[in-house]
C-alpha cells in the first residue's frame, strides 16, 4: 500500500522521466529531488516501471493484437471488428456460387437470344405454334433442370461451406454448361434429382386446349 501523496509523487516523477514537464516544472522537481530522498526514490521507481512496462508492452504487442479482435475489455484499444459483410464476401463458396449463377444466366440468355431467329428460320407455322416442336420441350426440361440446380446451389450457399463445397459447386457449373447443348446430356444431373423432377422433365409440356390431339405417354 502507498499513500495518496506518494502516488501523486510517483506520477510526478513519471511525468518528469517522460519529459512532459515544462522547463519551470522540471526545475522545481529537480529542486525537490535535491532535498527529498523520497522523491529521489520515486524517480528511480518511475524509471523502473517505465522501462519494464514498455518492455512488457513491446513483447506482448503481438498477443494483444490477436486478443484485440476478441474483446475490447482485454485490449488497450477497441479495434473495430471486420465487417460481417466483408467476411461474407470473402467466402469462397459465395464467389463460386455467384460465378455459377452468372454462367447460368449467360447460358440461358444466349439461348433465348438466338431462339426467335431460329424459329423464324423454321417457318411461320413453327413460329406460330412453338409448343409442337421438340425444341420447346427441351427448353422446358432445361429450364426445370437449371431451376433445380440453382435451388440446390442456393441451398448450399446458405449452409456453412468449405473448400469441398466450392469444388462441388464448380463441378456443378460444368454440368450446367452441358445442359445447354443437348437434352441427353441432362442425364448426369437427373441421376441425382428427386422423383418429382424426373416426372416433370419426362412429362411433355401441357398443350393449349384443342391445339393438339396427342396424349401423354405413360411411363
Amino acid at each position: 500500500m502507498t499513500t495518496p501523496e506518494y502516488d501523486r509523487l510517483l506520477l510526478e516523477a513519471t511525468i518528469y522521466v517522460l519529459g512532459d514537464m515544462s522547463s519551470a516544472e522540471g526545475d522545481a522537481f529537480e529542486a525537490r529531488l535535491s532535498e527529498d530522498q523520497v522523491a529521489r526514490e520515486a524517480l528511480a521507481e518511475a524509471v523502473l516501471i517505465c522501462q519494464v512496462t514498455t518492455t512488457a508492452l513491446a513483447e506482448g504487442d503481438r498477443e494483444r493484437s490477436c486478443v484485440a479482435s476478441c474483446g475490447a475489455n482485454d485490449v488497450p484499444f477497441e479495434r473495430l471488428p471486420a465487417s460481417s459483410v466483408d467476411r461474407v464476401w470473402r467466402r469462397p463458396a459465395l464467389w463460386a456460387g455467384l460465378a455459377i449463377a452468372a454462367s447460368v444466366a449467360i447460358v440461358v440468355g444466349v439461348s433465348d437470344f438466338g431462339r426467335p431467329q431460329r424459329l423464324a428460320q423454321q417457318g411461320p407455322e413453327v413460329a406460330h405454334n412453338p409448343g409442337s416442336t421438340d425444341e420447346t420441350s427441351l427448353d422446358g426440361e432445361r429450364q426445370l433442370a437449371v431451376a433445380w440446380l440453382n435451388s440446390t446451389l442456393l441451398a448450399d450457399l446458405e449452409e456453412p461451406a468449405d473448400a469441398n463445397d466450392a469444388d462441388d459447386a464448380t463441378s456443378e457449373s460444368d454440368e450446367v454448361a452441358l445442359v445447354d447443348s443437348h437434352g441427353e446430356l441432362l442425364t448426369p444431373v437427373l441421376s441425382t434429382e428427386p422423383d418429382w423432377l424426373f416426372e416433370a422433365v419426362t412429362t411433355p409440356p401441357l398443350q393449349p386446349a384443342g391445339s393438339s390431339n396427342e396424349t401423354p405417354q405413360e411411363g
Binding site: T2, G19, R40, E45
Partner: protein, 192 residues
C-alpha cells in the same frame, strides 16, 4: 565482545558510520544493494544508460574517497550524491533538453545487466509487468499503452480519447500504483 560489535555493524549497512571513511567491503555491499536504484535515478535525469553508469561509478568513488559527513542516512547520501553527479554531468554534456528519448535509454538495463541472475531477474520483472497490465482496467491500460508504447503526450491522449487531461493523469496514476504494487512488492511508502 569485539566480534559481536563487528557483526552488529554489518547488520546496519545503511546507517551513519562513526568513521568518515567507508571500508571497501562496505562500498561493495552498498553497490550490490542500491546500485541499480542509483542507476535508475541517474537515468531519470540523463536519459542515457551509459552516462548513468558513469554517475554510479563516480558516486561510489566519492563514497570511497571522501566518506560521508552528512546528517542523513548513507543511502540517502548516496542518492543525493548520484543526483548531483547526474545534474552536473548533464550540464557538462550540454544536454539542453530533458525530453524523453526512447532510443537513448529505453530498454537498457542497469549496471552489470549481462550477469545471468540480472537477466533472470529482469525477465521476472517483465512477466510481472505483463500480469499487472492484464489486471488493469481497460481505460488505464489504454493510457499506459498510448503514453509508454506509442509515446504520445498526455495532452494528445486526452484529446484523442476526448476526456479531460486530469482524467488521463488520474488513470495513469492509478495504473502506476498497480504496476508498482506488482513490480515492487513489499516496498511500501506508508510513511514517507
Amino acid at each position: 565482545m569485539a566480534g559481536n560489535g563487528a557483526a552488529g555493524s554489518r547488520e546496519h549497512p545503511l546507517t551513519l558510520a562513526d568513521d568518515r571513511k567507508i571500508a571497501p567491503e562496505r562500498i561493495a555491499a552498498l553497490h550490490a544493494e542500491c546500485g541499480d536504484e542509483l542507476h535508475r535515478l541517474a537515468v531519470g535525469v540523463l536519459h542515457d544508460a551509459h552516462l548513468a553508469n558513469d554517475v554510479v561509478q563516480a558516486t561510489f568513488v566519492k563514497a570511497l574517497e571522501q566518506g560521508h559527513t552528512a546528517e542523513e542516512s548513507l543511502r540517502g547520501w548516496l542518492f543525493r550524491v548520484a543526483l548531483n553527479e547526474a545534474l552536473a554531468l548533464r550540464r557538462r554534456q550540454g544536454v539542453q533538453s530533458r525530453a524523453y528519448d526512447k532510443l537513448a535509454w529505453w530498454g537498457r538495463g542497469p549496471v552489470d545487466s549481462e550477469r545471468p541472475e540480472e537477466i533472470s531477474s529482469r525477465r521476472e520483472e517483465v512477466e510481472r509487468a505483463k500480469t499487472a497490465l492484464e489486471g488493469l482496467p481497460a481505460e488505464q491500460r489504454q493510457v499506459v499503452y498510448l503514453r509508454l508504447y506509442e509515446q504520445k503526450t498526455f495532452a494528445v491522449i486526452a484529446k484523442e480519447l476526448n476526456v479531460p487531461l486530469g482524467t488521463v493523469l488520474w488513470r495513469m496514476q492509478a495504473a502506476l500504483k498497480r504496476l508498482r504494487e506488482r513490480l515492487l512488492p513489499g516496498d511500501d511508502h506508508d510513511n514517507p
